[in-house]
Symmetry: C2
Subunit: 204 residues, 2 copies
């Protein structure tokens, strides 16, 4: 620390700026959002976490935003009403945009069933938005029913359940479509990594 | 990509997890929030940006969250009413908490005049919350009046202006108190960096 204190209120302080490009250079990769969308049970979270693990092994800076870590925090004030679901996805999109500015490879795992909501996020994030459709058929998701949610939805115990009593609008032109219903996990991870390499997001 | 597709819906997918500790090891420093608080014109943003620049030169992973990049995005739906100001700081605290999980040294620059709000953020972020009081006297901030806001507040054109018509509750035990009214910028940056080194947040 400086021993000389300038006791003046007129000291001029100049603004500096660390830019996204500078952070990306330090990281050795671009910031981007991998937006995993698909039905409940399609494998979004599992795939997102597995892709993150692979990227971390490649020394990329990564973060997964999923329902659990926002529904209990940033979006704890939101219900599951239509309006609040829209707001939930909007906030996640805004946060993902901040992470991209920070140069982080950001992975999100939300059903995000409506095209309009996903397109809003694309508008927020810009060219660094990569939509990943976890394309597992409803029958397979329902037969897995890991959390028992489909059974409850069929029994009428959960209202507006995507695929049962509320629509899932599949992406029309996703950057990546993963056959999460049939492929093994490792093959799905390979497919996502290959996309990132082919598009210069990561260079290794 | 694998050429062999397992056409089975019973493929078992195991969850993996990249932890904050793993990200911190990769980064070579801990994730933490430097929460700069102080009056309008105290030098919060300028100091936060200058600290970020120094940390970036040291190859730390950094990000600054400031009013501009959340008021136009994540918090664009909020007004400047009392309730919405509280919500603004809450959301920023939650986002800062996510950045800490991502292993990032996160810097925020908000007046955040109320102790209760800052303590809420401390509760969200936990032990990695570092409160930095930019302790510039009101008279100095008002004499600088870089944005002309004090003049407008004195003229009654801005309601509830911190320091003029709304209180600023100074931190009682901030981790760092910076004499942003008298010290030169470089000395203030030195003081923050020295704190981070002394407390093992950064190791260089």
């Amino acid at each position: 620390m400086s021993d000389v204190k300038q006791k003046s209120s007129n000291v001029v302080w100049h603004d500096t700026q660390v830019t996204t490009a500078m952070r990306e250079t330090l990281n050795g990769h671009r910031g981007a959002v991998l937006w995993f969308t698909g039905l409940s049970g399609a494998g979004k979270s599992t795939l997102a976490n597995a892709v993150e693990e692979r990227l971390h092994q490649m020394k990329a800076r990564t973060f997964v935003i999923d329902g659990d870590n926002v529904r209990h925090g940033l979006c704890a004030d939101l219900s599951f009403s239509d309006d609040d679901r829209v707001e939930n996805i909007r906030r996640v999109g805004e946060v993902a945009g901040l992470f991209v500015q920070a140069g982080v490879l950001t992975l999100t795992a939300f059903i995000s069933p409506f095209r309009a909501d996903r397109e809003k996020v694309r508008a927020i994030v810009g060219e660094n938005f990569i939509e990943v459709h976890c394309n597992t058929a409803l029958e397979i998701c329902e037969s897995r029913d890991v959390k028992g949610l489909y059974r409850k939805a069929r029994a009428g115990e959960i209202a507006d359940f995507t695929g049962i009593s509320s629509p899932y609008e599949a992406p029309e032109n996703p950057e990546i479509c993963v056959d999460t219903g049939s492929d093994n996990l490792s093959a799905c991870v390979d497919q996502v990594i290959a996309y990132l390499q082919a598009h210069g997001v990561i260079t290794k």
